[in-house]
Chain length 122, copies 2
């Protein structure tokens, strides 16, 4: 019996993803209106061509946290006899999304000048 182990390439394959999960979730919800947890993991996997796999242990606590901060609204649905919890941005969440994206852009800018002083900051 042969066992082919598939190494799950999780967030933190490169540790850099640490701290960017909330930004990712908020932006995907801004883009797609409403999504449920599992859908988010699949979307991220698809967009990054499998490079970034969000683990459930990170995702669900993050969604709960964002909800508790009134950045997300939840709506429970039953599809094919399976539960789904659809999340969407609140008004506060939309504002926070803009802030988080600005922080991301600034972070990227700073990292670029730190690691490559020759790059222009346009």
């Amino acid at each position: 019996m042969y066992i082919f182990e598939v190494y799950q390439q999780v967030m933190g394959n490169s540790k850099l993803y640490k701290g960017s999960l909330h930004t990712i979730i908020l932006k995907l919800l801004e883009e797609n209106g409403k999504m449920y947890g599992y859908e988010i993991t699949q979307k991220v996997k698809e967009i990054t061509k499998g490079e970034l796999q969000i683990t459930e242990g990170a995702l669900y606590p993050a969604l709960h946290k964002l909800e508790s901060e009134d950045l997300l609204d939840v709506e429970v649905a039953k599809v094919d006899n399976r539960m789904r919890k659809y999340y969407k941005l609140t008004e506060k969440g939309s504002i926070e999304t803009v802030n988080k994206l600005k922080e991301l852009e600034q972070y990227i800018r700073n990292m670029q000048v730190l690691v490559n002083p020759k790059w222009s900051i346009e």
Copy 2:
């Protein structure tokens, strides 16, 4: 008596910096040959125009970790009667620097397509 508090803007002002300290240190050492801890904090502050302040509580343990992984060599010096510990990349450290920079580029690419599907990945 008036007290003007200066709020130190530390790493994690935006949480995104979590996980990027090792990359920053390695790249600065690649760029500058050898540096001591305090010098690194000042260089980062200068390059990011004060936006990113590396705290000592993060920096020194990080340097010790990199040293223990044989990525850095240390050389102690005494300048103006004060101790300095100069760090430089080992051969292994140089290789790891290249890897970390590739990971950073990939991270930035992935985040860009995640947050802005319209951006080109060049």
